[in-house]
């Protein structure tokens, strides 16, 4: 396999792993809030979170580029914080991937939290557990299948992204060139054998993920 391809695979896995990890941390409180709140903002926030699901990735990538570029408010913020500009960097890719995959992580969590309902938390409170204690000792274990689904979907979805990465990351080998981009390059260059290796690998990987997900959804006890 070509070094450039290997680099692309490693970069893709790093990107997907880091994005998924950060997303779980961000999406857990967000999904918890969405599952429990009666706030009038629930609808607006929920729709905003779901937006990346239906927007063409290029639209999302374009607005992120504008927002995070030197003339956008995001760019101004990162520059004044001394972080420089995010577009065409790996951190920029992470930010974009997180936004792109947000609904895939929030929704399974939100559904898992909603399915638990208020009763286990009330029981925990009458057994002297603080709300935070109850969250970790009762909600997290009960929502475990939701966390697994969220992590797998977030990871897999990030691995497969193309449009957003192209817009915000460019196609810089070893820096922002991810797997889907490498495949595109091979096809452009008529290197079908190389494209096959990567594309076939992706196909097998995606299938395995779905198989794994299916397995995980069968609850062990119950």
């Amino acid at each position: 396999m070509l070094t450039a391809d290997l680099n692309a695979i490693v970069l893709t896995l790093q990107l997907a792993g880091l994005s998924t990890l950060l997303l779980l941390l961000l999406a857990t409180p967000l999904a918890w809030w969405l599952a429990r709140t009666h706030s009038p903002f629930k609808g607006v926030i929920g729709a905003t979170v779901t937006l990346p699901l239906i927007l063409p990735p290029t639209v999302l990538g374009f607005y992120l580029l504008v927002l995070l570029g030197p003339n956008g408010p995001g760019g101004w913020l990162t520059e004044s914080l001394g972080l420089g500009l995010l577009p065409f960097t790996f951190p920029g890719l992470v930010v974009a991937s997180m936004i792109y995959s947000l609904p895939f992580v929030v929704q399974p969590l939100q559904q898992a939290f909603a399915a638990i309902g208020p009763r286990p938390l009330e029981a925990a409170a009458t057994l002297r557990a603080t709300p935070l204690d109850a969250f970790f000792s009762v909600v997290v274990p009960l929502a475990r299948p939701g966390f697994v689904t969220a992590a797998i979907l977030g990871f897999a979805h990030t691995i497969g992204e193309f449009g957003v990465v192209l817009m915000i990351g460019g196609n810089i080998p070893g820096k922002t060139q991810v797997l889907s981009m490498a495949i595109y390059n091979h096809v452009e260059a008529m290197e079908y054998a190389n494209a096959h290796t990567l594309a076939g690998g992706m196909l097998a990987f995606s299938f395995l993920i779905l198989l794994l997900l299916n397995r995980m959804q069968r609850r062990p006890d119950a």
Partner: protein
């Protein structure tokens, strides 16, 4: 020692307006139809209904007082709560469910031996099981044990038997009676089943539409015929009595109470044992003269105290006193009229059926 509870809630379609002073020990039943506010009251005492305003003082400890801006969150109230559906944690074994609350109280508070509670509720054989593999009755018992192991100062029970069938109920009731006898702490018990109340409660609060219609000792409150809440076939009294004689050849036992005694089927009670006697209004009839040559074994001299309405306009409830002990009889209005019953009249109460409970 008392429970001082004042609760207010105004929602469209549902209002709660309670002002209760309840005894600081024994079982107090909150009794009423569904929707009468019993469960909301219990949840508010536990701090699970933050929208409810008022004041909750439990044996001197203030848990909520909106006038002073005091609201102790649920996890800092030393209470035990048994939910109707038991609410066991499905991801934990019975043992870990029991440990959940116990681990979260101060070490010095853990004097109550787990073995004692496990034995009291008969759940020793279930410890390694998951809640999904317990019967309804077993779940209730585990939930009770889990609550007791936090060493609560108040035990709140929300219809712990409502989800159970008749046989499972009979399985749990003896355990509840043991809790009643052995626990020093007050128990608030929500129920809409008159037989549970008659068996377990010392004190009764009758609720309807978010208000307390009556509150007082069980015997006294059950004997009131002026309450608009209708128990139908369950209308009747509960008398505290002592077994003072047995007629062994006929398998009967005699329960004595201030003012008289009643013969009942021998339930294997020892002489001198305290029992509750339940006498339903439909099983009491009235005669002017001491009945002779009748199959009825129990006839008591009584005084008519009052006549009141019953659910059907053809019927009337007659409140009687046998010595100091109240009794209720259900008659047709015609027979009351033909007997010329009026308050103060001396009559004979014939009791057709008597149940020894507890």
């Amino acid at each position: 020692m008392s429970l001082d509870i004042r609760l207010r809630l105004d929602y469209p379609g549902f209002a709660l307006d309670l002002d209760l002073a309840l005894p600081g020990r024994g079982v107090t039943a909150l009794f009423g139809h569904s929707g009468s506010g019993k469960t909301t009251c219990l949840r508010a005492i536990a701090g699970l209904e933050p929208a409810v305003r008022g004041r909750v003082v439990i044996n001197g400890n203030c848990w909520q007082d909106d006038a002073q801006g005091i609201f102790t969150p649920t996890h800092r109230r030393p209470l035990g709560y048994v939910f109707q559906d038991a609410a066991l944690f499905p991801h934990l074994s019975v043992r870990d469910n029991l440990d959940y609350g116990r681990r979260r109280i101060a070490a010095g508070e853990r004097q109550i031996a787990a073995e004692t509670v496990i034995e009291l509720l008969g759940i020793g054989g279930l410890l390694d099981r998951r809640p999904a593999r317990l019967s309804g009755g077993e779940k209730s018992r585990v939930a009770m044990a889990r609550a007791l192991l936090t060493r609560p100062r108040l035990l709140l029970m929300d219809e712990p038997l409502a989800a159970l069938d008749h046989d499972r109920k009979q399985e749990i009731l003896p355990y509840l009676e043991r809790l009643h006898d052995e626990l020093e702490i007050p128990i608030l018990y929500v129920s809409h089943a008159p037989d549970e109340v008659a068996r377990l409660a010392d004190h009764l609060v009758v609720m309807d539409a978010g208000k307390a219609l009556a509150a007082g000792p069980l015997g006294e409150t059950l004997a009131r015929i002026d309450l608009p809440i209708r128990l139908g076939e369950d209308t009747g009294v509960v008398i505290d009595a002592v077994i003072d004689a047995r007629d062994e050849p006929w398998l009967l036992a005699r329960a004595a109470f201030p003012g008289g005694f009643l013969w009942a089927r021998d339930g294997g009670h020892a002489l001198g044992q305290h029992v509750r006697v339940r006498v339903l209004a439909r099983d009491v009839s009235i005669a002017h003269d001491a009945p002779t040559r009748t199959s009825i074994q129990n006839a008591l001299p009584a005084t008519v105290v009052a006549l009141g309405d019953d659910a059907h306009p053809a019927l009337t409830l007659v409140r009687l006193d046998v010595g100091q002990t109240p009794l209720i009889a259900r008659l047709t209005r015609r027979s009351a009229h033909q007997l010329g019953l009026c308050p103060g009249m001396n009559v004979w109460a014939q009791v057709k059926a008597v149940a020894l409970i507890g």
